[in-house]
Assembly symmetry: C2
Homo-oligomer: 133 residues x 2
């Protein structure tokens, strides 16, 4: 079973990636796998867990409305998001991986983060990179 896999974060670039991934999964008529990865650790307290849950509720509503066939994988394993994304893409036989790119850093400089670079270079399938607005 081929899939489209998307790395979701509750930020403008994550929302843009999710919307693009929904379109791609529909166009390709395959299941969409949404990866919501948290490193966990000391910063991932009960408040963080509540926030993650709240953002996932919004994601589920969007997915239900889209009519696309989907799965959500919520991971708190202590890995970098890129590692979780790459391993799930491989395990899910992804034909496309979708990631969001931050458009600008707080000081207005364009950046391509280390997670994005890792995914672009190490993915076994094509990677669609979309920017948040």
């Amino acid at each position: 079973m081929s899939t489209v896999v998307v790395g979701y974060v509750p930020k403008p670039e994550g929302e843009a990636a999710l919307r693009a991934a929904v379109s791609e999964a529909k166009r390709r008529e395959v299941t969409l796998v949404v990866v919501d990865s948290h490193r966990g650790g000391r910063d991932f307290d009960s408040d963080a867990a509540d926030d993650a849950e709240a953002s996932l509720t919004t994601v589920k509503a969007l997915l239900e409305e889209s009519g696309v066939d989907y799965e959500i994988r919520q991971l708190v394993r202590g890995y970098e998001p890129s590692e979780d994304l790459l391993s799930i893409a491989e395990a899910s036989d992804a034909e496309l991986l979708v990631i969001g790119l931050r458009r600008r850093s707080p000081v207005g400089k364009l950046i391509l983060g280390s997670n994005a670079q890792r995914v672009l270079l190490d993915a076994h399938c094509p990677v669609l990179a979309v920017k948040g607005s």
Copy 2:
């Protein structure tokens, strides 16, 4: 008119990008714009022009066989390939830009070249990055 725009180079990653772009243009039922950009200058002598012509013949054969609606833009304007690609994507109202990524440098290190980074960060539309085999 919406399009898919692809940056072509006569290398494995350029061929992979071209094949992916053909699939995307078909899937989206839009015109494919193939950008073949050369910086020109002293290194672009008549031999280089002949090589460019020969590789374009192969490209045209692949495009004709695919049945996709296409245009080829061959540019020798002294600009970086990323600049040519970005300006044509904008002018062609691209809904998707496709680029090839080199898998490895001669010493086996993974690299994300400056042209690829520039396109990923500055494109006004989503960018599909594919690796050569």
